[in-house]
Amino acid sequence: MSTLGTLAATLRAVLGDGQVLTDRQDLRTYECDGLANHRVVPGIVVLPRDTAECARTVRECVAAGVPFVARGSGTGLSGGALPRADGVLIVTARMRRILAVDAADERATVEPGVINLQVSKAAAEHGYYYAPDPSSQQVCSIGGNVAENSGGAHCLKYGFTTHHVLGAEIVTPEGEVVELGGPAPDPPGYDLLGAFVGAEGTLGIATRVTVRLTRLPQSVRTLLAAFPTTAAAGAATSAVIAAGVIPAAVEMMDALAVEAAEAAVACGYPAGAGAVLIVDLDGPTAEVEAQFAQVTALFETHGATELRVAATEAERTLFWRGRKSAFAAVGRISPDYIVQDGVIPRTALPEVLARIGEIAAGHGVRVANVFHAGDGNLHPLVLFDAAKPGEDERAEEASGAIIDLCIEYGGSITGEHGVGTDKAKYMPRMFTADDLDTMQLLRCAFDPAGLANPGKIFPEPRLCGEIPRKHHGSDAPTGLY
């Protein structure tokens, strides 16, 4: 029998038939994540029901020398959960229990397959929520969020997943179960949890996650402002931040993105706007009122052509609907599109948008811009028609040129979607060989055999090599003896 055949038989024997998929039709369901132009049918799919089953699966992979890839909900946009034909895909969809909601400790403990929004729903009755809110929050998993260090519209003020994860139980790439972090802050030793968050499944699989819950704000104000140009909207955003106001969210959409959203969800954004800003202010009522006055005044002096304030929760939802549906919405105005994710220093926004315009024109494609304007995280959507010869290549090139632009301006090749399969090739443009080598030191400490999600993040697979073994006896703290 082949290596995979033997492994499948072993896994069936120890986990039960229902947890192991090998039928080609079943496997196909998992051939891609949200980055659908990369597809690989996994060798085996395993659906563990608990930590022990997950650890057992990893140990069997290690014993067989077979690579494995974790998958949550498969909404990732960088091909992080892209399976291996010669490997096992470990899917957390059967680990979906919310284990505890402790309002008095402001935290919740969940299994990795739990959907992001479910955590906030469970916490709501106590007056709390889970702050990181990716636009995919109705479907993406906490395990995936941890792996990608996901952000959301509100991370401008509240930070990313890494600021809201207190602890995780993980299965290491060698199959051990280890606690990182814990119920209390600042555990002694290296902050391995901090290193694990955002490692895209290359340092092991999270099997239980303790997250921080945030007290619901006393009040929230949402406003929508139209500007004649993206440059004007960018300048208005900068003015708000220069005035010392950090809104919970500042999101921008350009005319093309607005057009798409309008076509898809009829969100009723101001017609003819060159750019729309959606701003959330939240916090203690008195602060929000003071900030609201400041922001509206600044928007007016910076040339807002229309200002709307959400009077009801329903209106607030409507303001946000256009933004939250923006990625899918461009499907209404273009048969195909690439979702890009790059970061620039926010102050460079006007210049960079002009350059993106040039790139689009130069490549004969259109680019719709949606972004987290507050922190300079751009999501240019490169629109193209794959049916037209050569257009997909040109779109791919334009998308790559935008990433180069982000690097040129001192930004990042990814603000929240991760490196995955898609952007591994850009890593050497952002980091030196020594920088990447140092990241490998960490990877090798966790995964000397290189079996955990190989081929992601780093451009070339690397062997770890032995290190001179030290005897730790002499390292024991003197205080113990």
């Binding site: 814990g182 209390a184 902050d191 391995l192 008195a286 080598d437 073994r469």
Partner: protein, 376 residues
């Protein structure tokens, strides 16, 4: 870059160095560490020299790298709310005008030392610690290679977030030379609401404060050797907002508002030469740790205790209480005779994995060997 022979003042916690080097740039630091690697020298790092008595003394020390000349702000991009600062810069000298690095500076401490020890103050409740504010870092590895992770933008998930790993690593993984931080606007107004409370009612008071949606920057407690617990809440924001929030807190807690925090604010409860312990616990268990001599961030579950008397016995007791609560008790500093008798760190979950990390980054175990948890 000249190496000077060490003087009597050049030691880490009583372990004398043989040489001292004080590089002024990352490149000079790299040259120093490359040579140290070639000569297989044990390396210790000194910032402001205010916490060299934290952790355990190194097992071996040849070269002391002093960061005092590796100082200065390299960039302050006000519009982007970020700054790049050399590691030897004193935290209390940083001035970013209407913006600030939201770390409460300890007197004399450098940026590099603050990151390496992950020390924090009251405002960690709202802004987190160095780990949360650090968005990019330059480190010279034990083999002398210069490496960066993170970047200059706040939002960035490219590659491993090694800044987290270096934060709190006590100089055991390399020399931090430059840090990029996220800044925050300085609030226009602040107020402190102070409430004395019997220990029995502490839990209820803290729950009340959490329930009010006033978003404090800090919730601190102080329990002197005699007398009741005092809880002080800092709110920062616009003048009108702060006024309302303080009034709301006064009403809910029965406290009184003042413009400035109490004198014990942000200070460890111990004096130099005494034994200081960091206690952590989930929020609801904070009252269980609030013994006499304890002070700290009730809002985050990070407290500091001054131990006197029969220290090993007291440590055992307080550590058992912290562990029962789900937290830890780590001795930050203690006189040599105490350190020899106690376990400084207590149980360290994940220690085997930490050792593997150390082995990869510093295979010769030359950087501050023995100062850190588990003999790392």
């Amino acid at each position: 870059m000249e190496w000077a022979p060490a003087t009597e003042a050049d030691h880490i916690d009583g372990v004398p160095a043989r040489w001292v080097a004080a590089p002024t740039t990352t490149a000079e630091a790299a040259a120093v560490l490359e040579r140290a690697a070639r000569d297989n020298l044990a390396v210790g790092i000194r910032g402001g020299g205010t916490k060299l008595d934290w952790g355990l003394p190194p097992r071996r020390l040849d070269l002391l790298v002093d960061t005092k000349r590796l100082s200065g702000v390299l960039e302050h991009a006000a519009g982007d709310l970020i700054a790049i600062v050399r590691a030897g810069t004193r935290l209390d000298t940083l001035d970013f005008g209407s913006q600030h690095l939201a770390l409460d500076p300890l007197p004399g401490a450098t940026v590099g030392g603050t990151v390496a020890l992950n020390t924090s103050g009251p405002r960690r409740l709202l802004h987190g610690t160095a780990r949360d504010l650090l968005i990019g870092i330059t480190v010279v590895r034990p083999d002398g290679r210069v490496t960066r992770s993170g970047g200059k933008v706040v939002k960035n998930v490219a590659g491993y977030d090694l800044g987290k790993l270096y934060t709190g690593s006590y100089g055991t993984l390399g020399l931090i030379t430059e840090c990029v931080f996220r800044l925050h606007p300085v609030a226009g107004a602040r107020a402190v609401v102070t409430t004395p409370v019997p220990r029995a009612d502490l839990g209820a008071l803290l729950a009340t404060i959490r329930a009010e949606q006033v978003v404090p920057s800090a919730v601190e407690l102080d329990r002197p050797d005699d007398g009741p617990v005092t809880v002080a809440v800092l709110v920062e924001g616009t003048p009108a907002g702060v006024h309302d929030r303080a009034a709301q807190l006064e009403k809910a807690t029965g406290g009184t508002t003042s413009a400035d925090p109490p004198p014990w604010w942000g200070r460890y409860p111990w004096q130099p030469g005494e034994t200081g312990v960091k206690l952590t616990a989930p929020l609801s268990r904070v009252p269980a740790l609030a013994e006499p001599g304890v002070r700290g961030s009730a809002g985050t579950g990070v407290l500091y205790a001054r131990l006197t008397g029969d220290i090993p016995a007291r440590l055992d007791r307080i550590r058992a209480a912290a562990i029962a609560a789900g937290g830890h008790a780590v001795v930050l500093t203690a006189p040599p005779d105490v350190r020899e008798r106690v376990d400084m760190w207590g149980p360290v979950p994940g220690l085997a994995l930490m050792r593997r990390v150390k082995d990869r980054f510093d295979p010769g175990h030359r950087f501050a060997p023995g100062r850190f948890a588990g003999g790392i």
